[in-house]
């Protein structure tokens, strides 16, 4: 592949990393539309099921989840499972993400760092082909955090026509971090976090009875694929998306490794 990066003096700092194993999970392009429709089966289970039914379903899945995670994260994972939000995303080529963005899909970046001896590449791989990790840094709710890239920087071109300042921030760690590029599929159900606030006030007791005590879990129970929020950072106005439905994502196979 011609990258144009070798002649760039910054080449040593930015490495392109491609997950070869993603290839085997690629979906036949002719089936993509159908698979996406099946993936988009998230319904309003908060109101569609009785709180008893929902609570029982969630608790059963929580009990089966043997991971060492906070209870709230397990509840989010359970709701994601019920909603079919834990399906794998589509791993695609750069051109596919470019086309999706050109058609109006929202472009996203996610930064991952290496922690506790676990390389960032492993976290990236898990995001694409592993079990859904509900996240624990949940100041704005459980889910997968992404940001909308805003900065044009030639050192990341052509893999990342724009790069997110927020994503780069989260690559800092023990070793190389990684930035992933994705796009939300066109039909993804999105909600402004502010707009949900009133709805939550009206449904507070119902959510409580169903055992839902987290913003991400609440939104996922309503069948929302991703929540967004502005003004979370001082140094950038990049919009932050909490993606609840992993199946609503197209993820670019080529990521960039950023040395800490």
């Amino acid at each position: 592949m011609k990258t144009g990066l070798r002649s760039d003096p910054c080449f040593l700092r930015v490495w392109i990393w491609i997950v070869a194993t993603w290839q085997q999970y690629e979906i036949d392009p002719e089936l993509r539309g159908l698979v996406f429709l099946l993936n988009l089966m998230g319904k309003d289970i908060l109101n569609g099921l009785s709180t008893n039914e929902l609570s029982k379903e969630v608790q059963k899945l929580v009990c089966d989840d043997q991971r060492a995670l906070p209870a709230r994260s397990k509840i989010f994972a359970a709701i994601a499972k019920i909603q079919n939000f834990d399906v794998l995303p589509e791993a695609v080529e750069i051109e596919d993400v470019n086309s999706a963005v050109a058609e109006g899909c929202i472009e996203l970046n996610r930064g991952l760092s290496s922690t506790r001896g676990v390389p960032s590449q492993l976290y990236a791989k898990e995001l694409i082909i592993g079990a859904l990790y509900p996240g624990t840094l949940s100041s704005k709710g459980n889910g997968i955090y992404f940001s909308v890239p805003s900065k044009e920087d030639p050192q990341y071109f052509p893999f990342f026509p724009k790069i997110s300042i927020v994503a780069l921030k989260y690559t800092k760690g023990e070793a190389s971090g990684i930035v992933m590029r994705a796009a939300l599929k066109k039909d993804a159900k999105l909600a402004d976090s502010d707009d949900l606030k009133e709805y939550f006030k009206e449904n507070r007791n119902r959510a409580k009875r169903a055992g839902i005590a987290d913003l991400g879990a609440f939104a996922a129970a309503l069948g929302i694929d991703a929540l967004y929020e502005d003004d979370l950072y001082d140094d950038t106005g990049e919009r932050i998306y909490t993606v609840l439905n992993r199946g609503a994502l197209l993820i670019q196979k080529a990521c960039i490794l950023v040395q800490s």
Partner: protein
């Protein structure tokens, strides 16, 4: 300041003391997640007392356990 408060909240959000203190202050976690950044603009002192107390209680729990953040398996 927003960045700093954001990090502070992420560090304590899974502590028992944070959750208990928030509940005792009559605040749902979801309500907190919706609003902390809107109310404060990143300034800890502008947060409602229940929010401040919960964050401080979470930090105290971490300090007592000798940790900077709770760690969970991947």
């Amino acid at each position: 300041m927003k960045n700093e408060l954001h990090d502070r909240i992420n560090r304590v959000i899974n502590t028992t003391a944070f959750e208990t203190c928030l509940e005792n202050g009559g605040v749902d976690l979801i309500e907190f997640q919706f609003s902390w950044n809107k109310i404060s603009d990143g300034d800890f002192d502008k947060l409602p007392k229940a929010y401040q107390d919960a964050i401080l209680a979470g930090e105290q729990e971490l300090k007592s356990s000798g940790k900077t953040v709770l760690e969970f398996a991947v």
